[in-house]
Amino acid sequence: MYFSDLGIIALILALGFALYTVIASIIGAMRSAPPLVASAKRSLLAVTFFLLLASGALVVSFLTHDFGVNYVAEHSSSSMSWYFVTAAFYGGQEGSLLYWAFVLSLFSALFVITSKRAPAALVPYVMATLMGIESFFLFMLATLSNPFVRSAVAPKDGAGLNPLLMDPGMLVHPPMLLMGYMSFSLPFAFAVAALITGRLNAEWLRSIRRWMLAAWTLQTAGLLLGAWWAYHVLGWGGYWSWDPVENAALLPWLTATAFLHSTMVQERRGMLKVWNLSLVIACFALSIFGTFEVRSGLISSVHSFAYSDIGAYFFGFLAVIILFSSALFFFRLPALRAEQEFDSIVSREGVFLLNNLLLIGITFATLWGTLFPLISAAFRGQTMTMGPPFYNQVIAPMIVLLVLAMGIGPLLAWRRTSLSALWRNISVPAILAALCALILPLLGVTDVAANIGFTVCTFTGGAILYEIWRGARVRHRHGESYPKAVYMLFQRYRQRYGGYIVHLGLVFLVAGIIGSHYFQQQKDATLKPGQDMSVAGYRFTYLGNIDEKASDKETISSQVQVWRDGQLQGYLYPGRVIYATYPDQPTSAIEIKTFVATDVYVYLADWQGAAQATIRVFINPLVPFVWWGGLLMILGGILCWWPARRRLASAVRTRETKKPESVVEKPAEVADGGVIA
């Protein structure tokens, strides 16, 4: 009896309990039998337990170097450090599917534990949908893609992990991204449950938005970590290359962003129900597409580390999801009529429509570029891969418009805006933008596209800060000091101001992208000790190579001095690491030194013995903005998500107890506000 056998048993039991949950919760809901639903809840927790057991069995197999398990032998070796051995868990297809299923079960358990907060009628159907998805993954894991398959003769040592994955980024990026993909299951389950029961009320909307916000934040973190990992490991000086795998991760993020905005319209105005449901379904379908596209080898990519033949099954699963949800959707279409009319295009909901159109436009353009190789192969017999310039040219204008809309949107009121108030509110950020447009050419930025981009970013950043200031001023007038007023704004209206933080983060991110796209400088040089090269005011003096040998790897690093304005700024050691298990794939150890907001990125392209190196230097202005902006976006996402849970619970409670009171009070509040203004 090996631990892997325990893993197989746990997988099969988990599959059984998952199927039972589906059946019990559906029958329990249809016959309104609470005991059956309660047993479904317990059975779902059992699925979580058995998946925990299976994952534990795989981790133990890895840590005990049980090379009799094929998966362990293929993805680890006895010389690897324990944390990479553990991370090898999701280094291949079988393990990452297991991880996916495990995290889904964890989130499902979280849902069950907090299910008192969700609309009660929906709970069984949400569980059934989640466990339906889980059953598919467990079926794949138990049959075609089982990580616990043993070979007759255990090899002496494993093959080791792909050296590109032997990086600290590997410890956090894939689990985060897979968790992001997985987390779109929950909004999808809520959508299916609402379509089945026909309950698409405000309470449902709040639940689904909360889960979508969580999924969005996780996916943001996954994308950011992916970009960071590419930047620090791959050695081409960039962080995003429009690779099919990167695109696939971006697609559900885009539709989720669109959903988070358009649900605000539904919340306030009762419009766009059909549209929002389609967005949720699209998010989930795209996340399944992303999960399997990486594995299927359908489209060639730099990032695919494992190919297999399970693509067809995933494709079938995708088709089932789309057919099933479309059928439900058309069944419920009559119940999805808008409750209110549209007043004016110059209103916040008008900007949200524009925002959705642009986000869907970006989604489609990205999907189109990703799938174009298949389309051209089908029609012309040769695959045409789309490179970054295609995406940049199609998507950049849409991003700029999106950022502009992001600046104008918060200045508009719901329903309809007084134009004169709009002119006044727009003036301040517009003047800032004009200053930016004027100053940039004086600083030597003559590219018109870069100027447009920076100007729009200034406008939107200014508009957001102005909006925060305006809110603070209103509170200040009621007797709070400015710092306290700002703090209270964030404290009281975390959703609104958390959203502004996300927007501010995106402005930083876009500014970083523009900076690094238009002003990146690059130079290669083959140097002997003592020779130097200069790029953009930085001088690099090469001193020699250092060779370190360890039992499992050899590290070669070049010693380089960085000079600026005649002053030594420090030493850099760009290098290469050659792992014993993959001698022909040297990975790079890139050195990045940040000067204020400019990254100096030094990469060892080639070397000869101890006294010659080909050094490649990138000067990447504003790349740190990408990371700061991304962090702000994650922070804003957490801000929006975190209190929503507590506030929702308390809001529901107060509504239950104080319903008549609040109804009476509301008009009074309106009158008060009107008089004071």
């Binding site: 009319e341 174009f372 789309m386 004169s420 002119w423 509040e669 506000g673």
Partner: protein, 196 residues
């Protein structure tokens, strides 16, 4: 009071228009002032970034460090100096390596034109659709009694009726802002009442 308000409104609109005009002027000046004749280095880089390095993974000829890419950059430079056009040079490489293998920016001709036209066309169709849907929503009499009952404020209306309408709008807007901030904040709304 009304006269001062309308003056202020007009002033802020003019200020905004002046700012937008200034930005537009800077942009068009930049657009026309930049040299239309790019340098040889720039052209080589432009062309090379449209080609995919055949031996690397996911890198353009302009960025790839490989020897072949270096060689190709040399060929591009020779051909640029010999006076060939960008599309001729790209054509030269695609006939040698096969279009699908080396060109990674679709050209504005033939089948690959589709790659450009489909997303752009769909976006335009989306705008049109949005326009039609919004018009439909606003015209639907069964759904929009409120929208019809209230006349549209004319953007630049000068007569006194529309001005008072705008004043009312302004008041409503201010009320809305405070109300949005005060909603579900009992402490804050109490402070509003006290201030009253």
């Amino acid at each position: 009071m009304k006269a001062r308000n309308s003056l202020q409104q007009k002033r802020s609109l003019l200020l905004l228009l002046a700012t937008v005009a200034l930005i537009a002027a800077v942009w068009s000046w930049l657009f026309f002032a930049t040299p239309s004749q790019p340098s040889v280095d720039q052209r080589v880089h432009d062309i090379a970034s449209q080609l995919r390095c055949p031996v690397c993974q996911g890198e353009s000829v302009a960025d790839a460090p490989s020897g072949l890419a270096l060689q190709m950059r040399g060929i591009i430079r020779q051909q640029v100096l010999a006076g060939k056009s960008d599309s001729e040079i790209i054509q030269y490489f695609s006939s040698r390596y096969g279009e699908g293998n080396i060109v990674w920016v679709p050209q504005w001709q033939g089948f690959t034109l589709l790659a450009w036209l489909v997303p752009i066309g769909l976006l335009l169709a989306g705008f049109l659709f949005l326009f039609l849907v919004v018009r439909d929503w606003r015209k639907d009499p069964g759904l929009a009694p409120a929208g019809l009952a209230r006349p549209q404020p004319a953007a630049g209306g000068a007569n006194s009726a529309s001005l008072s309408e705008e004043d009312a709008e302004l008041e409503r807007y201010r009320a809305q802002l405070e109300q949005e901030l005060a909603s579900d904040d009992p402490l804050f709304s109490r402070s509003i009442k006290e201030a009253n």
